[in-house]
């Protein structure tokens, strides 16, 4: 089982490194990521959002909907933890019997 996992990991790593050969160099100011969408965020942030911090303006204004999704993720995780962990103190420990599944928690 560990051998299989090692093989899978090595194959995935080789595929990833093979893919990174064509990637833009580290720190390249002419990479597609730096030329396509983000110049507008950098140049127009003061006039469109009046915020000097570009990360804030993208997070809260241009892509604010992702921030709503992110807060929903935290809320989901919080309610999930309550759902999973809360236990009534008066319930006693049940024995596990997977051959005859019963349907109450």
């Amino acid at each position: 089982m560990r051998f299989l996992a090692l093989i899978a990991v090595i194959i995935t790593g080789i595929i990833l490194i093979y893919g990174s050969v064509d990637m833009p160099d580290w720190g390249d100011p002419h990479s597609p990521a730096s030329l396509h969408v983000s110049p507008r965020y950098i140049e127009k942030t003061m006039e469109e959002t009046a915020t000097p911090n570009m990360v804030t303006s993208v997070l809260a204004d241009y892509r604010g909907y992702d921030t709503l999704g992110e807060t929903t993720v935290i809320f989901t995780a919080g309610i999930s933890c309550i759902l999973i962990l809360r236990e009534r103190k008066r319930r006693k420990k049940r024995k596990i019997n997977p051959k005859n599944p019963t349907n109450h928690v």
Binding site: L16, M46, I74, C81, I96
Partner: protein, 124 residues
């Protein structure tokens, strides 16, 4: 070959880190070790993304002495978009970690062990 390593070594370091985390997730038998592996894997992905945002000679993506009307050149600031995406990804990572640990606590309450072999044996 040498200039390939010089220009792309950041990606390679993060890929090796990702693979360490990935191996821990699928190869280890202890549940907590799997969670640690998951954390390493997701952190390495976040660092990988951030490394695509750097620019030679660029500074932090905050306009100093803002509120004055002066021209802003895109090449003098690093790319803010991957940082924003990774803020969301960090939050998602922490939430998944929280839910995973809650499930592990519930498993421990029922089986009193955290080794996968023991749990599979007790389940039979």
């Amino acid at each position: 070959m040498f200039d390939l390593i010089i220009s792309k070594y950041n990606y390679w370091i993060y890929i090796i880190l990702m693979m360490i985390g990935f191996y821990a997730m699928i190869g280890k038998k202890n549940l907590v070790k799997k969670i640690i592996g998951m954390n390493i894997f997701q952190t390495a992905i976040i660092l990988f993304f951030i490394s695509t945002a750097s620019k030679k000679g660029g500074t932090l993506p905050i306009i100093m002495h803002g509120h004055g009307a002066h021209a802003v050149k895109a090449a003098s600031y690093i790319n803010p978009l991957p940082h924003v995406l990774m803020l969301t990804a960090i939050v998602v990572m922490v939430s998944t970690l929280g839910v995973a640990l809650a499930i592990v606590i519930q498993i421990y309450r029922r089986y009193n062990t955290l080794e996968e072999n023991e749990i599979l044996r007790l389940n039979k």
